[in-house]
């Protein structure tokens, strides 16, 4: 795979992760356990939609076929989206959403820190902006994980269960493929093995504070990088893309 192809594919994946998680967080609006959390959640969703727009706009330029950020978001079918499966998991209860966000962001923060140093200037630039946002998110969701893990018996068992339920989606974060390898080689991209080590250490610290037990090693789900999703994804894009699909070519 050549340098440019790797760059385009990598950037689209970043956009896809951001868009899908942004969409899931948008679904949570009006469902927060307290009004202050509504503002926090909306802030996170806005950050993700913003990042998706930056990545997709850049991808459109790279591709050079006249597509727009909206074309990527609204006119691609499921198998063209290459997000990790973790971000498309259902919202569930507050604990599920926090765990999903925590597991992803403890990876994403490290990925962005590495990307801010890569040799693709636009990616580095976007990553440098995004990493500040994600550090703030991560502190917030980590705090919640600790509060709930070391809260009441009920909150503890709920988030322990959330952690157990989401664990099988964490392997995929570090299961690189030829695009990751090419990006690492050609653009001085993140070294996933190093990221994984860092992630494990940071995770263990937070889980200890939260009095939560790290789930046992288990089979890991995957396929997102090949456009193979979980069943939830079809519904997500059907809802998201409806207007553009029903009124092709319309301006909004």
């Amino acid at each position: 795979m050549d340098k440019q192809e790797a760059l385009l594919k990598y950037v689209l994946r970043l956009g896809d992760n951001a868009l899908v998680l942004g969409q899931k967080l948008s679904e949570l609006v009006t469902q927060a356990p307290e009004l202050e959390e509504e503002l926090a959640n909306a802030n996170f969703a806005l950050d993700y939609i913003g990042q998706a727009r930056l990545f997709y706009s850049y991808a459109a330029e790279l591709e050079g076929k006249g597509r727009s950020e909206d074309d990527f978001a609204f006119l691609r079918d499921g198998n063209e989206f290459r997000n990790v499966l973790l971000v498309e998991q259902p919202n569930g209860h507050f604990g599920d959403a926090i765990v999903r966000q925590f597991l992803f962001e403890s990876f994403y923060a490290l990925q962005l820190e590495a990307l801010a140093r890569c040799s693709a200037p636009r990616v580095a630039e976007i990553a440098a902006r995004a990493v500040k946002e994600i550090h703030y998110h991560l502190r917030h969701v980590s705090q919640w994980l600790v509060l709930l893990g070391d809260g009441t018996d009920e909150s503890h068992s709920r988030v322990q269960r959330s952690l157990d339920d989401h664990w099988r989606f964490t392997g995929e974060l570090f299961a690189g493929d030829e695009v990751d390898e090419a990006f690492e080689r050609e653009w001085d991209g993140p070294r996933l093995a190093e990221l994984e080590q860092d992630w494990n250490e940071k995770l263990d610290t937070v889980l200890a504070d939260a009095t939560l037990t790290r789930p046992a090693a288990q089979w890991m789900d995957g396929g997102g990088r090949r456009g193979r999703h979980t069943e939830h994804f079809g519904y997500l894009i059907a809802e998201m893309q409806f207007l553009q699909r029903a009124y092709p070519g319309a301006r909004w």
Binding site: E36, A40, N43, R139, H140, Q143
Partner: protein, 95 residues
């Protein structure tokens, strides 16, 4: 219904270097760090702050306004007419 009240915090924001902190409003939070986060989310969405102070409302010491009257028994250290700032001992009914 009274299961999990989060305490009230007052929020003070310094909008720009060189200015003092000004009272912006209040938030509920379960702890100090959360209060800071909430204050940031609520009161600095449009870049209105470089520094945030949060204080538990119950810890603010306030002066008596000049015209306070005896009817409402103003305590010198309660800034609002807030029922939960007042501790009622167990066994006292109807309060």
């Amino acid at each position: 219904m009274a299961d999990e009240n989060w305490p009230l915090y007052e929020v003070f924001i310094r909008s720009r270097s060189g200015l003092s902190h000004r009272h912006a409003g209040s938030v509920h939070a379960a702890g100090d760090q959360m209060a800071l986060d909430h204050a940031r989310d609520v009161y600095t969405r449009r870049n209105e702050g470089v520094s945030i102070w949060v204080v538990r409302s119950s810890e603010i010491v306030a002066s008596d306004p000049a015209e306070s009257a005896a009817f409402f028994d103003p305590a010198a250290d309660k800034i609002y007419r807030h029922p939960t700032f007042y501790e009622i001992p167990d066994g006292v009914e109807n309060l």
